[in-house]
């Protein structure tokens, strides 16, 4: 029986609880140090399948700005961050762009959409 303890800083809120997760053969046995259920959920996810929201910018053609800020609509697997960035870097959109516009449907095959987070009017 291999027991493993992993220490995490919970990032679900600014509290930043120090959480200890006990794993046994890859299975979560215990979560300690969290002060709310969200901490428990975060810790379990973080040790089994960590996810992140990726925010970046996408090139804009004929816009009042050269780039528009974007985000993945929901979290994507943490180990796919750089794949997502590669896709983000390959897109060029033409102004106007509106906040909430979907710029890519299924980024890097994650099933998650890439959306604009601000307006960029045409130049």
């Amino acid at each position: 029986m291999s027991e493993e303890k992993r220490n995490l800083t919970c990032i679900r809120c600014p509290m930043g609880c120090q959480i200890t997760v006990t794993l046994e053969s890859g299975e979560v046995r215990a979560v300690e140090g969290n002060s709310c259920p969200r901490g428990d959920e975060y810790a379990r996810n973080e040790v089994t399948h960590p996810v992140r929201t990726v925010t970046s910018t996408v090139r804009v053609r004929k816009g009042s700005l050269p780039v528009v800020s974007v985000k993945t609509q929901t979290d994507i697997p943490k180990d796919r961050i750089f794949d997502v960035m590669r896709d983000i870097n390959s897109v060029t959109v033409t102004a106007p762009v509106h906040i909430g516009d979907v710029l890519m449907e299924n980024i890097a095959g994650t099933g998650v959409a890439l959306v604009a987070t601000r307006d960029v009017p045409a130049a």
């Binding site: 995490l8 800083t9 990032i11 509290m15 929201t53 925010t55 910018t57 780039v67 800020s69 987070t117």
Partner: protein, 453 residues
Amino acid sequence: MRQDVRIVIIGGGPAGLAAAAAAAEQGVPVGDILIIERDDKLGGILNQCIHNGFGLHTFREELTGPEYAQRYIDLVEKDEIPYLLNTIVVDISKSKEAAPCGGHAGAAKNASRGYKTVTAMNSTDGMIQIRAEAVILAMGCRERPRGALNIPGYRPAGIYTAGTAQRFVNIEGRMPGREVVILGSGDIGLIMARRMTLEGAKVKVVAELMPYSGGLKRNIVQCLDDFGIPLKLSHTVVDIRGRDRVEGVTIAEVGPDRKPIPGTEEYYSCDTLLLSCGLIPENELSDGLGVGMNPVTNGPKVNESLETDVPGVFACGNVLHVHDLVDYVSEEATAAGACAARYVLEEETGAAGKQETGAADKPVTITATDGVRYTVPVSIHVDRMQETQRIRFRVGAVYRDAAIEVDFDGRPFRTWKKRIMAPGEMEQVILTKKDLAAAKGLRNITIRVVQGG
């Protein structure tokens, strides 16, 4: 151009927008409110903070900076609150003369009050003079530059504050460098470590002078740990190499006196040094107006109404004290907007000559001590306070399993246990009007850290 309004708000960032919306909500006619913004867009610095993590408290969802700003811009647009863009305020002064506000019912009654004159300029209207009964200061803050840190070495291109780099990368789509060392673990520095990494730069190290980080935990985890970027606490930059462009920096460990320890120097080759070494409220206009300042926050001293010692001048957001979360800025600014609205509307409704007679009602003072660095507000007029009063503060060191104790005139009133408190994160306690009213003759409230609770 000349204009008379009742409330003028200096700054169209998150603080100014929330304050304006709140003032309108309280019943100040929107035509009597004016927001003055120096940039070409409302939203302030949030426009370049394209990362997520904003709004968890306010909207119960995780927004990016521009999205969070847009929520408040939408409020202002929906209410049709007037604003000026690309307009810089060069001076605020007070006058003893009667408040102008021509057509308003309250104008005559407010005769005793005097107004403030705001001088501004932009390329459309030229020189602008605005007279207002109330001013809300919401100018935000600036970053501490290299010069203020006395970092020795050359002065090449490639040394930027993290915020300047953020603007280049996120708004202009430009890379300020490819190999980066970051001094200071403030939030913008951490965010930029990730941002530059995602854009293909190599962030070699983040050095922090203090033995703890000034940034939020989540940022250390998601911006440094995720990418294997080392954070060196108790380290600083002791030399900058490169005459034209940065070629490298030397980092050394510092002792408890924060002075470099000889022999611990380590050289990092890089083309860019980003600085995230603290934010300074931009109070040059407040200084010019003669507003009393708190030397700890570099922001105005305010009372329960977030009113400075110049009557009718309110402050909120990072110009008042540097916040960790924008949600708290919005909350504070909403309160400031509401208080400013009450200030200008009070006379009309005849509700209270209290603002003027307030002097008779001596405020309860608030003292920060034993690890609590400051409080906002610094005083409370019990009769003017709302049912609950938030007192925000920061602590001066990292405390584990400690407590915050509030004393009323030297006697312990209440304690709150805190598992962890750190200088990077804002703390608050909430006091009720009932509690304060019950403490008859209360003169002073003390807020302190109690360790080993």
